[in-house]
């Protein structure tokens, strides 16, 4: 109970600050402080579990930290801390531009961001399908105001689509949850249960047709939230229209949590089959593969800078879904880690570029290397990391995903994944080279380029080091995450 209070305290204080503190400058600094404190507390709580010192920490009935959750908690907290720190610089810059954001809007943003992080953490901690559903719906509701921040026509349209499509999707997940609950009532536990542990224990007794139906609906619902093709249509809009720090959190943290929910369900599904890859895994692998291919095709014809990264996120979601389907939490986490850092960097940098050049359109952004060499280098590095180019860890995770698929003899999947990955690499390189080269239309206007690149640079250097040392890291994660 104490650790629960410890975990939630910084977030709640952060939200309270956003309500009470009127000065957005002070609030920005305070928020960053709370976010880093939150990261510190998360690490203290989660690190023992992730390192295997403690098996599992139960925070409250239905909420506990297990090994995989601990890794994702730290990842989410890191992305949140980075995004929040950057958002201070972001809003200071934004205030110089027309239309100026109102201070009430910024405070609402910070308050919702705190609760959004809270909801995402709750998803990771849930040991209960009901709570899982509630938390995921809460992430939608709390992140909608983030997307809505600028209150322009496009932002409103994106928010509406996000809210409606995700709510409908999640309604299906509720249907699925109910069906799973119903299937658990056919077991020795006639009252039924939504607890994941109990469900895994009872797995062989579950009414499988009902469970399967429930699983499909849940997959549909959480898949919508994760941006799985063809339910992805809200994702590029929301990611492109949200302010950069919010995009970073949506892409870097929220997608992971949605996939995490699918992974939880797959645990139950595979328990029904005594651990053998079965219906659920196949569904995940195939949907993931299709998503990768579809996203890479969409990537070719993109006009917006942030929409580009949004589709790249969809592609990565596909890869992670394949990893989930392969039943390897370690691979899933490794891919998620690399993607989250790279994508957070990309979105934050894109936010800077858009602020500096005043345009979101790829056709109007040129000569980034002349405009700001530092951003140019960071952008190239992050784009490489997002598409899985060798020095970065994502190369290793993608390689491992492919090899794991090969182990199970899924040659068609490998072929499709390879073509998707290479296609997206080509598409992204073309777009990025256009941004970098050429002459800028106008000298950029950005007051503190160094402060603005602080967080992206930090994230990228961490990712770079990670890439170089991944060998040991992989072995440790894979060890902890379970058998490959």
């Amino acid at each position: 109970m104490n650790s629960l209070a410890l975990l939630t305290a910084p977030l709640l204080l952060w939200a309270v600050c956003a309500v009470l503190v009127k000065n957005t400058r002070v609030l920005g600094i305070l928020t960053a402080g709370w976010a880093w404190l939150y990261l510190a507390i998360t690490c203290t709580l989660a690190a023992p579990v992730s390192l295997g010192i403690e098996p599992q920490v139960t925070l409250a009935p239905g909420f506990s930290i297990d090994a995989t959750a601990s890794w994702f908690m730290m990842l989410t907290a890191t992305i949140a801390a980075g995004a929040m720190t950057h958002s201070h610089f972001f809003f200071q810059e934004e205030k110089l531009r027309e239309p100026r954001p109102k201070s009430t809007h910024i405070r609402l943003f910070y308050a919702c961001a705190a609760l959004f992080v809270f909801a995402m953490t709750a998803v990771l901690l849930c040991d209960n399908l009901g709570f899982l559903w509630i938390s995921i719906e809460a992430t939608t509701l709390l992140s909608a105001p983030l997307v809505y921040f600028s209150r322009t026509r496009h932002a409103i349209e994106a928010t509406w689509k996000y809210l409606i499509i995700c709510s409908v999707g999640i309604a299906f997940a509720l249907l699925g949850t109910i069906l799973i609950f119903a299937s658990s009532q056919h077991t020795s536990l006639s009252a039924g249960s939504l607890s994941l542990q109990q469900l895994i224990q009872l797995a062989p007794q579950l009414n499988y047709p009902l469970f399967k139906l429930g699983f499909i609906f849940c997959f549909l619902g959480y898949g919508t939230k994760a941006g799985v093709f063809p339910l992805h249509s809200w994702l590029p809009d929301a990611h492109a229209e949200a302010p950069a720090p919010a995009s970073a959190m949506l892409s870097g943290a929220l997608l992971n949590t949605a996939l995490f929910a699918i992974w939880r369900l797959l645990q139950v599904d595979s328990a029904c089959h005594h651990g053998r890859a079965a219906f659920g895994s196949n569904l995940a692998i195939w949907m993931g593969t299709i998503t990768v291919v579809a996203a890479s095709l969409f990537l070719i014809r993109q006009h917006g800078l942030k929409r580009l990264w949004a589709y790249s996120s969809i592609e990565n979601v596909g890869l992670m879904l394949v990893a989930v389907g392969l039943g390897s939490p370690g691979l899933f986490f490794l891919q998620a880690l690399n993607h989250s850092f790279a994508k957070a960097t990309l979105f934050l940098l894109s936010g800077n570029i858009i602020q500096s050049t005043g345009s979101k359109h790829l056709s109007e952004i040129h000569g980034l290397l002349k405009l700001s060499p530092m951003w140019g280098v960071l952008l190239v590095a992050a784009a490489c990391a997002a598409t899985g180019v060798p020095p970065f860890g994502s190369f290793i995770s993608e390689w491992l995903i492919l090899s794991a698929s090969a182990d199970t003899g899924r040659w068609l999947v490998i072929f499709l994944l390879l073509s998707g990955i290479s296609l997206s690499f080509i598409a992204v390189s073309i777009h990025v080279s256009r941004i970098l080269l050429g002459t800028p239309k106008a000298p950029g206007s950005y007051r503190h380029p160094v402060l603005g690149s602080l967080i992206p640079a930090a994230l990228m250097s961490f990712l770079f080091i990670l890439g170089l040392t991944t060998g040991g890291f992989v072995s440790s994660t894979l060890h902890i995450g379970g058998a490959l």
Binding site: G130, I134, E137, A144, R151, R153, I156, I178, A182, G192
Partner: protein
């Protein structure tokens, strides 16, 4: 022989069908309220007669929030926005009502194939009604123009899911139930705020005309 709960469920589904044939937004909200009250009264029936369903106070909370609170809120929104009719986007309204009758029939076959509801109509009636409500809600969301109609459609769908939960499982654990209710309420509130904002920025709330973000 239909039990009371099944009769109420069927009535709720029928009111859902009437709602799908309603061009006037306000009448659709009234029909939604009736339908929700019927759904909520089923929870009462279960908790009172079988002692298996959710507790009475939970049902009461559901009735108050969903059958009274939400319609009031939506009615207020509609009045403020001064929207009246939703003529439908892809299907003429009377036709969409008949499509939902067809979907009602489809739901019967789906419900009969669902385990635990084999054979007779009476056994499948609850499941039929709930699946039909889900379908009706989806159809309503897809074939209507106004943002407010999408909210109503979503709520109808949610009613169907809740009803299915009641029927199949006699209610989820209390805390989950309350969490779901809270989420739905929050979703309606946020959607309501955004609808106001859509009206302010676009001068209409016709979602089929929100095409600024379509792929070029």
């Amino acid at each position: 022989m239909l039990g009371l709960a099944e009769t109420l469920a069927t009535a709720a589904a029928i009111f859902g069908i009437f709602m799908s044939g309603c061009r006037h937004v306000r009448s659709a909200i009234y029909l939604y309220a009736v339908q929700t009250a019927l759904v909520a009264s089923i929870a009462f029936v279960y908790s009172a007669s079988e002692h298996t369903g959710p507790a009475l106070n939970i049902s009461l909370a559901v009735v108050l929030a969903k059958a009274v609170g939400i319609p009031f809120f939506l009615g207020w929104v509609v009045k403020r926005l001064d929207v009246r009719t939703d003529s439908g986007a892809f299907l003429p309204v009377p036709l969409s009502m008949h499509v939902s009758i067809a979907l009602f029939a489809t739901s019967y076959y789906l419900a009969s194939s669902l385990d635990g509801a084999a054979g007779t109509f009476s056994a499948a009636a609850g499941a039929t009604a709930s699946i039909s409500l889900v379908f009706t809600g989806l159809l309503f969301m897809m074939t209507r123009r106004l943002a407010i109609s999408q909210i109503i459609g979503f709520l109808t769908m949610e009613n169907g899911i809740y009803l299915l939960g009641l029927h199949e499982t006699r209610g989820m654990p209390v805390i989950v139930e309350m969490g779901v209710l809270l989420d739905v309420l929050a979703a309606v509130m946020i959607a309501g705020v955004i609808v106001f904002r859509i009206k302010k920025n676009f001068k209409h709330i016709d979602v089929t005309r929100l095409t600024g973000l379509n792929e070029q």
